[in-house]
Every structure is written in C-alpha cells, then in structure tokens.
Amino acid sequence: MSNPGINKATLRTLEVLSSCETRELPFGVSDLSRTDGITKNMAFRILQTLAEHGYLVRDSETQKYDLGPQILWLAREGLSEDFDIIKFSSPYLRQLHELTGESIFLSIIVGRNHLTIDGVEAHGVRVSHQPRGLLVPLHASPASRVLLAHLSDTQIEDYIAAASPLKRFTPTTITDPDKLRREVALVREQGFARGYGDHYQHGNYISFPVLDSTGRPHAAITIGGPPNRFTLERIEELLPSMLAVIREMNTHSQRFPAPGQIVFR
C-alpha cells in the first residue's frame, strides 16, 4: 500500500537519479521514456528538475544527460576504494611462489612500457626484482610481450609505429615488426609468453596475462628462476598448475574493468 506521506512525483525523480548508478550514461529523454515506461513529457520534466539542481548536466550538443557535480553533496563517507591490482594479485603471487618456489613479479603498462609494481622473491639463488621504477618497452621481455599481445591490433600497430625502430637489448630481442606480430599471434594462441632472454638474459621466465571481461590487460604475472633450477623441463611440468592459478585469478579479475585509455604516440 502506498504511503500517503510520500510525494510520488518527487520519489520518481529521486528513483531516476538513483538509477544513474547503473544506467548507461549519458542518456536522453527518449532513453528514459523507453527504459522506464514513462511519457516523454514526464521524462523531460524529471531530467529538467535534476539538471536545474545540478545533479545532472545536459550536453548542449547531444542533449544527453550525465551526472553533475552536485552529486558530490550526497556522500561524505562510505566510498569504497578503487580496484587495487596489487591487493587483488597478492594472494595469487604467493600461491604461485609456493607452487614453483621461484620469484613472481607483477607488471602493468605505463605509457609504452611495462613497470614491475610488486613481487614475491624466492630465497637463496634467485632472479630478483628489477631496479625500482625501471621501464621496459612493450616489445622486450615476456611480461611486455604478454601485455602487448592483449592490446587491440590497432593499439599494437600504434605501438610499433611509435616505438620504431624497436630497441635491441640482447641478441634475442625482437626488433623486426613482422616477427613481433607473429610473436603476438603466438602469445594470443597459447595464452602466455615465454622468456627468450630478450631483455634480461640470466634466468628463465614465463609470463601470463591478468585480464578484464573484454580481454584487456590489467597486468602481467611473471615467474622467473635460475636456469639450472627453473629449467625449461621444470616449466613444462609446472605449466598446468600455473595455468590453473592464473585461470582462477582471471575469473575474478574479469569483474573489474582494466584501464582502457592506452594511447601510444
């Protein structure tokens, strides 16, 4: 039964405002009329009311509405923190370390490079974290190549154009764009990138992507160890178990959108 103390028209206005939490933005009068089953006249009046009070703003060109700055009045506390890739990845890095006994690294794309932002180091003889803040171009190292391979074809071509000539770090660095494109296809097919000593020669590495629901990369996870211990045979032996951890991680990472604005110059 409806509460006689409620102003129904105002309640509907507030409900439209609430719907902006999940509604596709920006939206217009016709969109609101269609989705909420109300007349265009009513939809217009609701949007006009919310815009007059600054809770929505109307784009004068498209006539569509988006959330406005007065929204900032509505919460003084209780905002949850953004998705934190380090916090999210931490248990999986530890799990992979326990599985392999080797060092594990977490890397993200920064500009045209990858940057290692976290890791778990193995004990004793091991491969170590790179110098803090070291940027590695996206064509060199397995972490870079696995991140590059999960960008769009257009972004990959933009990267090649912007970064050419591709810098050589070791004799095995891929500097030929066509060879890089073939490597991208291989990484996409197998779902991981192997180390070729193409950036750092001392150690064996394998990198896996952490993706969102659309396949964009959040980060790369690299497992690396000394070649006499983390042998190619050992990597093959561990591969199914490592992939199982990565698959579980990706099931959860898909709930969060990866940074989408990767623009190469």
């Binding site: 509460n3 103390g5 409620i6 102003n7 028209a9 105002t10 309640l11 206005t13 507030l14 409900e15 405002l17 609430s18 902006c20 939490e21 933005l25 009046r45 609701i46 006009q48 009311t49 009070h53 600054g54 809770y55 703003v57 004068s60 988006d66 959330l67 700055p69 007065q70 929204i71 900032l72 009045w73 509505l74 919460a75 003084r76 506390e77 209780g78 905002l79 949850s80 923190e81 953004d82 934190d84 890739i85 993200i108 794309i109 920064v110 500009g111 940057l115 290692t116 932002i117 803090r132 803040g133 940074p259 989408g260 604005q261 623009v263 110059r265």
Partner: protein
C-alpha cells in the same frame, strides 16, 4: 514542474549536518512548514537518500548517495589514463599519489594509489577543497587564465585579507614559473610533497597529481624532481593527444554558479 526544490534543500542540509537532524530542526532552519518537511523526509527515506537513526525521529544522509558519487568519479576519463602513472609514481616514491580535477572554484580528489612508506590518514575519494587550500589546488589556480584567477579572489574569496591575498598571488606566480608546487610533508617536516599540473602545451589544464609524502628533500634538487616531472609530462602528452576526452566538462558554467561541499575551513 515537479516540486522537488525543497527536497534537495533537505538533502543538502542532511549531507552537511554534523549530527542527525529531526524534522522540527530542519523546518526551523529552512523556514518551511513542519508538514512539508515531514513529507519531504518521508519521500527521501523511501528513496534511500535519508536514513532514520534507530529508535528516533532523527535523520542522516542515506546510503543511496555513495554509489552515485562513485559512479560520478568514474565518469572522469582522466582517471583511466592517469591510473598507470599514479601507480608508477607510487612505486618509485613509495608515497600515496592522488589525482585531482577542478570543478568551478574547487578541486576534487578523483583517484589515489596508496603508498607503502608511511601509515597516514589519506583523504577520502570525492573530497572537495577550495582551490587555494593545498598544493594540488594551488597549482590549478596558478595555471588558470589571469581573468579567472582574479575572479577567484573577487567572487569566491572576497573576504581574504589583502596581505594574505598578495602573498598567495606571489606564491602562485612562483608555482607557475617553476611548474611545480610543494608543501611540507605531513609525515616528514624536513621533506616536501610535490604537485604537478597535467596540462597541454597550449595551457589546457586537465588535472593535477600530488605525491603525498616526502618525495622531495627540502631543497628539492633537479635530480629528484625530473623523474617525477618526466612521468607527468608523458601523461600530459597522452591527454593532449585526445584533449576533448579530458577537458573540463564545466567550462561552459560560471565557476561561481557551482556550490560544492568543501572540506576547506571557511
């Protein structure tokens, strides 16, 4: 026209009140009939924007607002493009790195990456401050066109004593010349927290980044500043390449027409 105006007045009052408010108190403050306030509060409560304190007739702002603020902050495309650079600066310095945009005469914290150097109280996402309150805002103020900067003082801060204003203007000129603003670190008084503008070569300001720790020594040498500046320069270049996505959405509004809940002491 839907008679919603008084509803938003009640909502704003609940949002800024230090303690829960009852209908009588709201009626007194808004100079509106108690019956109207009751109807307004009941409607706000039904929509989730007002919350009754258990066992009382007192109300606070409801829980419906937080997810809307979250969605609002996510609408800033600058957050997406800046996120890896904030992470880079936090990785390099170990300090919390925060991203701000200007809205009218205020700046708003729209993203941050927590550092590991110190356990300090980080300001909340969505916090609003006056442009002259803190380095992240001052570097925005320093980068405003001169006429807007003048209007900030005449329209928004007319009560600021002339001596204080003169000192601030000198500081803004220095910030503009240095392309960096600094203030003493909250954790290490002998070190500085820097802020940088994210801007196009033509002076279009997209936002600012503040590294909230002691990233710089008190003399702030070029060797300390340049790696940080290089990261901001790359971010600025990316924003400039598609500047329409990142420009201030409220430039068509007069800054004085925007009133926001500032945390700055007034």
């Amino acid at each position: 026209m839907i008679s919603a105006s008084f509803i938003f007045d009640i909502l704003r009052m609940l949002a800024t009140a230090e303690t829960p408010l009852g209908p009588s108190e709201i009626s007194r403050r808004l100079k509106m009939p108690l019956s109207t306030i009751y109807r307004g509060i009941t409607t706000l409560e039904a929509a989730g924007y007002a919350e009754r304190q258990p066992g009382s007739n007192l109300f606070t702002i409801g829980r419906m607002g937080a997810p809307l603020v979250q969605r609002y902050l996510s609408r800033f495309a600058l957050r997406d493009v800046a996120a890896p650079f904030l992470r880079q600066l936090t990785t390099v310095t170990g300090d919390t790195t925060a991203l701000f945009v200007r809205i009218g005469w205020y700046y708003v914290r729209i993203a941050h990456i927590h550092g590991t150097n110190e356990i300090i109280q980080t300001r909340p996402l969505g916090e609003v401050r006056d442009l002259d309150d803190g380095v992240a805002g001052r570097i925005m103020l320093a980068n405003l066109p001169q006429d807007l900067r003048d209007r900030y003082f005449s329209e928004f801060k007319p009560e600021m004593p002339s001596v204080e204003r003169k000192r601030l203007v000198q500081q803004l000129d220095q910030i503009q010349a240095d392309e960096i603003a600094t203030e003493p670190s909250p954790t290490h008084p002998d070190r500085l927290s820097p802020a940088f503008a994210i801007a196009s070569p033509t002076g279009l300001l997209f936002g600012t980044v503040c590294i909230e720790g002691g990233a710089l020594s008190s003399i702030a040498t070029a060797e300390e500043i340049e790696p940080l500046r290089a990261s901001i320069a790359e971010l600025s270049a990316l924003c400039s390449a598609t500047s329409d996505k990142f420009r201030n959405s409220y430039d068509h509004l007069s800054p004085s027409s925007i009133l926001l809940p500032s945390a700055s002491a007034r």
